[in-house]
């Protein structure tokens, strides 16, 4: 009996470790990519003729947003467009990412794109890139301890927050809502998206004299949003008319909690529900009128990166910080434009065509 148990657990241990190893090898496709790059390009830098080789060290594929980011790069840097993309999925392993960048240097790619998993520890490897004469373009997340890259391309979270505030102002004015009592479900404490979106919205709220009843973290998760909203529904029953969720998952959780508490939201509801990120299923909810407005966090950095590369090819110096353009999706057509930071921006009224055209 005892032996049987022992044998069973040992077999189990082996099985599980195999499964774990399987995952490990599957997630580091670097060697395969190496072969591909070497096959298609001569190894010297700069003399590649028409084809521009680009190495992209991606964070991983943990969310729909990330998948969209990867797909955008693969579409833009395609063979038809005159590129050869060496793509490495680093599976959220920062050591693997450094390794991938070093591999790119050895392969002698023309440009390296990094979406840094961590913000620090980059100076050494970026110096290597510089020595090899390969320009580095950073996208999405930031690098804090080195400035040896050409440009950073990403989202301006504060503008997203500001846009949210400006839209709410215009929407409330149109609907004749004079008093705004907002509840905010923040993202993870300390995340750049949380800080930017909170700051931006608060700036408008302070300017307009709105009341922010409470602002608690839902950790960017559905469970977190649900729990925080459940508590809000009890603390501020009947006192709030706006709920701001700092990402789509939190909005999903908040909707469940409000359903349970009998609070109506969305178009025609008691509460104006606003979300950020604008993933496709949630843009659909905007169309269905469940979410009043959804502010995009654009994962499509690749077209902008392609512009930077073209600038560099032409011998120009691109800007150090470039923000991707983002869209604001709304459920009603009463507000068509808003002015953010003195700049007029369009609010997109979601229809089936808009939804179908969304890549992610």
């Amino acid at each position: 009996m005892k032996r049987k148990f022992l044998a069973m657990t040992l077999a189990l241990a082996m099985g599980l470790s195999l499964a774990a190893c399987g995952g490990g090898t599957a997630s580091t496709p670097a060697p395969a990519e190496t072969g591909e790059v070497e096959a298609t390009t001569p190894a010297e830098t700069g003399s590649t003729g028409d084809v521009i080789t680009v190495g992209f060290a991606q964070v991983g594929h943990e969310s729909d947003w990330r998948t969209a980011s990867t797909k955008s790069a693969q579409d833009v840097f395609s063979a038809e467009n005159g590129y050869d993309l060496a793509f490495v999925d680093c599976d959220n392993d920062s050591a693997a990412q450094l390794e991938a960048v070093r591999n790119f240097i050895q392969q002698g790619v023309d440009y390296i794109i990094i979406d840094p998993i961590v913000a620090t520890g980059w100076d050494a490897v970026l110096t290597e890139c510089e020595d090899a004469g390969i320009p580095v373009i950073v996208i999405d997340r930031t690098i804090d301890d080195s400035d040896k890259y050409v440009s950073w391309v990403g989202s301006d979270f504060k503008v997203e927050g500001l846009a949210c505030g400006e839209w709410l102002k215009a929407y409330a004015a149109d609907k004749g809502i004079t008093e705004i009592n907002a509840l905010v479900i923040e993202g993870s404490v300390g995340a750049s998206a949380t800080i930017g979106r909170t700051e931006g919205f608060k700036e408008i709220a302070d300017r307009e004299g709105w009341t922010i009843l409470d602002s608690q973290s839902g950790d960017f998760t559905e469970a977190g949003g649900q729990e925080v909203m459940e508590s809000y529904c009890q603390s501020y029953a009947g006192q709030f008319n706006v709920v701001i969720c700092q990402n789509d998952n939190e909005a999903a959780g908040a909707m469940t909690a409000m359903d349970n508490a009998g609070v109506t939201y969305g178009v025609g509801g008691d509460v104006i529900l606003v979300s950020f990120d604008a993933n496709k299923p949630y843009v659909q909810m905007v169309m269905d009128g469940k979410i009043n407005a959804n502010f995009e966090c654009n994962p499509m950095a690749a077209p902008t990166v392609a512009e930077i590369i073209q600038q560099l090819e032409a011998g120009e110096t691109p800007e150090k910080e470039i923000y991707v353009s983002e869209s604001w999706f709304v459920a009603e057509d009463n507000v068509s434009t808003i002015t953010v930071n003195g700049e007029e921006q369009e609010c997109i009224y979601v229809t089936q065509e808009v939804l179908d055209a969304r890549p992610y």
């Binding site: 022992l6 657990t9 399987g22 594929h61 608690q216 950790d219 469970a223 508590s231 349970n260």
Partner: protein, 359 residues
């Protein structure tokens, strides 16, 4: 006086006292901002469902309470903790959703799209929990690996396996039949019912059979128990198996709440809460005698602290600090030297009283 003394000497006195202490903070807070003192305790019926802070505590604390059952047995029998429960929860939730939705499918919105009946998914998740428990138990009981080291394997691996099963995506099963386990059963939140049933079954088994005594005796002295005729290894193995099963149940509840398998976040850091619940319940992490009711109260105390933070509107950034302070106070009150000091003081008082009386 003697009644009070009897009460304070009960094993459950301190855990219950701490729980009441936490709830009292809310009472004082509500009074100070001009609400009724019973504001926190008010339970209302809205939308045909029970609503209120106490219900929230019972509802949201269910997962930790379920985990605490298994954790108590593990701590008692093996003088170690199972730190893999949070990850196992995530794995079980992912496995369940993967079975129901089919591999690689990321969203199911009606029962017709199910790759397998829901029951298969649920049973699969429970079996997966048992399997993980058996793995941990095998390592600890039969290979004599230290519990922390043995369970460290699944602590790091289980979540990753879950991610693999779900093809690194969040699998949504937006179907009411699945949502019921984290939703409402009539007016009562289902997690409360599930937790209550789990506690009831385990306590009945422990009371009606000698299992509870066996576990304690193995925890106090493994060798002596073996000599006395108990199969110590099998009992330790069983405890880990139950712990894994509990993690499976908790995983189903957690994933049903959000009708999806968010492998990255389900059960994140919950193993620490479960261990804390056992400690708050007045159980020694050194194994041996245990008090299941204490652990359950401990679990709800942790949730009561969280709910208190929400009630008081403490900013999220400083919440961990407040939580830590409350936990320090609770743990310190239960520490043996503090207990001894209180005893000494009351003894001195009694002596002084006697002297006054005799003089």
């Amino acid at each position: 006086m003697s009644n009070l003394k009897k009460l304070t000497q009960k094993r459950l006195f301190l855990p219950v006292f701490c729980m009441i202490l936490v709830l009292c903070i809310n009472m004082i807070y509500d009074l100070s901002i001009g609400h009724h003192f019973y504001n926190f305790f008010e339970i209302t019926m809205t939308n045909g469902m029970l609503n209120g802070r106490l219900i929230n505590i019972l509802n949201r604390g269910s997962e930790v309470a379920i985990l605490a059952i298994g954790m108590t047995l593990v701590v008692s029998a093996s003088a170690g903790t199972d730190i893999s429960v949070g990850s196992v929860m995530s794995l079980c939730a992912s496995f369940c959703c993967m079975l129901v939705a089919g591999f690689g499918v990321s969203s199911v919105s009606s029962a017709e799209e199910f790759a397998m009946p829901l029951a298969v998914g649920l049973i699969g998740a429970l079996l997966m929990g048992c399997l993980c428990g058996a793995f941990n138990g095998g390592l600890v009981a039969y290979l004599n690996i230290q519990p922390m080291v043995a369970t460290l394997i699944l602590w790091s691996a289980a979540r990753a396996i879950g991610l693999l099963l779900c093809n690194n995506l969040i699998v949504y099963i937006r179907v009411p039949e699945f949502g019921v386990f984290g939703g409402y059963l009539g007016p009562i939140p289902t997690p409360i019912v599930i937790a209550a049933v789990c506690v009831a079954i385990v306590s009945v088994v422990l009371k009606k059979t000698a299992l509870g005594m066996y576990i304690q005796s193995v925890g106090i002295n493994k060798k002596a128990s073996r000599i006395a005729g108990l199969n110590s290894q099998r009992i330790i193995f069983l405890c880990y198996l139950i712990c894994g099963l509990c993690a499976g149940i908790a995983g189903i509840v957690a994933s049903s709440r959000i009708t999806s398998a968010d492998s990255n976040n389900i059960g994140l850091d919950l193993e620490l809460d479960a261990i804390l619940a056992v400690a708050l319940g007045g159980n020694s992490l050194g194994g041996g005698k245990f008090n299941l009711a204490g652990s359950i109260i401990g679990a709800y105390t942790i949730q009561a602290i969280t709910t208190t933070m929400y009630n008081m509107g403490v900013p999220s950034a400083v919440t961990p600090v407040f939580k830590a302070v409350v936990v320090i106070v609770i743990v310190a009150v239960q520490a043996p030297p503090v207990k001894a000091w209180f005893k000494k003081r009351s003894a001195a008082k009694a002596l002084a009283k006697k002297e006054v009386a005799s003089a």
